[in-house]
Chain length 391, copies 2
């Protein structure tokens, strides 16, 4: 085999379901010199990361840290620590990630009860209450932001429902953290995991998690060891906390990147950041609507960072995505599960959430559809600009 | 809380047990623009990584890929996939990482039998044969390069021993890959995990693993699902292999770094790279010996990338390490377990394995000892230079 050339990736406008575009200063942080993982200067960086994560998560939870793996590792960390063999787990499934929670909980030995909602719809607290039917559960699992559908789940009322079933409340915030308010403490969330490559606009590779003191107590009272040594939150806390007990070697340069990504969130200010995500999602929706494209998710539960777009049978949706990538240097995502081959997922996450991207995407989509001989109903760009003009 | 400043880590000469120094071109690769994880150009990069990994591992194993976590995640991946509840596992323990293998195997439900050797010593094939006492085992686990002691385990004869007990051969190559010959196929290794932050000189965050076809068959014949969804090698293979079935989002920028790190190995050439590691370790050992410092690991089993140095009771070993870090910008490691407070671990791994580092370290150690009023017996620098002059 001949030796490969050095990597030379082109700059792509990332508007899929993640990764989002990485900010220049985050890329630069990744390339700073590697420190030893026990160097006092690195330990200080870890402390700052944990403190900034608490702010972005909206929590005082001491047990707040990034897992050294991607979002799915964070999911598994939460589930593996909270669930012991035989534990009853109630999971809301309205997309891929609810389904994955069931799979992970089942492998952890949990007895899983699924509560289903149609893909593209959210749950009411009563849906869970009804499914529980008076039984007790160890954990109630809900996806805050379903990356497969672009549905935002309202967390109001879930704490009370969880309390009535004696459950801890576990929430997937992979695609919400840094893009929409998460506010763990306000909603009484006991455990959560997120990803870095969505609204934080850091490359994939880390999964911020947070556990309430109540969840930590439940983990401390386990009768069997956590099945994963790598994801054992007790040991991870002793490494990230004051003891600095060696566990594994932290992904140092990735953590530099996360540090900078969190800094950028706080420099912008969380309320301004959330408003930015809302504005550009609104402009995108207006443009897509004007073009005659349908958004299957009702506006009230639409996730600003991720918009699901229905694709008519007359359109070769994969060919449009390929054309966007090759001719426009722009990536959007395809549908998953119920929406496979029938929808696009357009991400406006973190650094990708910008007016330039909204207008660029609308204009590229119009061109690609026209290339297939599909006429747009109206002028998407003009409709988006109207939204911008109105603010 | 006030907003932290951007990370601004100083450039430290990393001569501990890992991370080693990251090459400039690897740092630059980390900072290249993020591609989508399903972008055809990224998939090509994944293929090149897998192919280069096979070369460095010395294997044709199809199932060769980096796990999206650090070395401990790779250990857990190997164990969790190979071990089902009730399986008998034989583990050689002569340092921290053998002990960790026991812990991980036990959490996976394995029935673990430990074979102990003193810290700082290696095993003979007969040690395992005797411990097995005619019983059959599912997996025989051996650490090729014990990061806690700097012992290199000869792999010769282990395949035959494993065969006689009906076992798969699992080998920890965290601190050997890229620094000493690994040659999986030659030694009949069935499963291995490594790390990126040792002799590959890429920052921590990925764990290259490789599984023989025989191991893949055994995993395929499991009667229970792998307890970890994140580390399920069957699913990971479908993502890394031709199917590209979405599993988790690969750590894109970290993989750019690994691609470049592997390229640097192959550009240098593996034989030259191994010889470089041997030469600088020899010079370091000569220098330390001349200074009157004792190396507890016998020369025949000494690991070139990592040298264990005994510290006399008259020396405050932690103060020496602190002084190296603050006054000399150089990191060396302390002892672990049996050697805690009684030894240093000096790494010469990957980019850190250089004449400048050997001479810088000997001279810094002499200064730091002198600062404590401890006289060196002789001139370490001169002894090291003699080694260099002789080649």
């Amino acid at each position: 085999m001949s030796l490969p050339n050095p990597v030379d990736p082109p700059r792509v406008t990332l508007m899929g379901p993640g990764p989002s575009q990485t900010s220049e200063s985050v890329l630069a942080a990744l390339a700073r010199p590697t420190l030893g993982h026990l160097d006092p200067r690195f330990l200080a960086i870890m402390d700052e990361i944990a403190q900034m994560l608490r702010q972005v998560f909206g929590t005082d939870n001491r047990t707040t840290l990034p897992i050294s793996g991607t979002g799915s590792a964070g999911m598994e960390t939460c589930v593996m620590n909270l669930v012991e063999p035989g534990d009853a787990v109630l999971v809301g499934v309205n997309g891929v990630f609810g389904g994955r929670l069931c799979e992970v909980a089942s492998r952890a030995g949990g007895e899983v009860t699924r509560v289903e909602a149609p893909w593209g719809r959210a749950f009411s607290p009563e849906d869970f209450e009804r499914a529980a039917a008076g039984r007790r559960f160890k954990v109630l699992c809900v996806v805050h932001a379903e990356t497969s559908t672009g549905v935002l789940q309202d967390l109001s009322g879930l704490r009370e429902v969880a309390d009535r079933m004696g459950a801890l409340l576990l929430v997937d915030t992979v695609t919400s953290l840094g893009g929409v308010p998460v506010e763990l403490d306000r909603f009484g969330v006991d455990a959560t995991y997120s990803g870095t490559q969505k609204c934080l606009s850091c490359p994939p590779g880390l999964s911020p998690v947070s556990f309430s003191d109540r969840a930590v107590d439940v983990i401390g009272a386990r009768t069997s060891p956590v099945r994963s040594w790598y994801m054992d939150i007790g040991q991870l806390t002793r490494y990230w906390g004051g003891e600095r007990a060696y566990h594994h070697t932290a992904p140092i340069n990735m953590l530099y990147g996360l540090h900078e990504a969190l800094r950028l969130c706080l420099v912008e200010g969380l309320p301004a950041r959330f408003e930015r995500h809302r504005l550009h999602a609104r402009a995108l929706a207006a443009g897509l609507g004007a073009m005659g494209l349908e958004l299957p998710v009702p506006e009230a539960i639409r996730l600003p960072p991720l918009t699901l777009v229905k694709v008519g049978a007359e359109v070769d949706e994969a060919a449009v995505r390929r054309r966007l990538l090759t001719e426009h240097g722009m990536e959007i995502g395809g549908g998953l599960g119920d929406f496979k081959g029938k929808a696009w997922r357009i991400g406006l996450m973190g650094a990708s959430s910008s007016r330039g991207n909204v207008e660029g995407c609308l204009s590229a989509l119009a061109e690609a559809l026209q290339h297939q001989g599909v006429a747009s109903r109206g002028d998407g760009l003009a409709a988006a600009r109207e939204v911008y003009a109105s603010v």
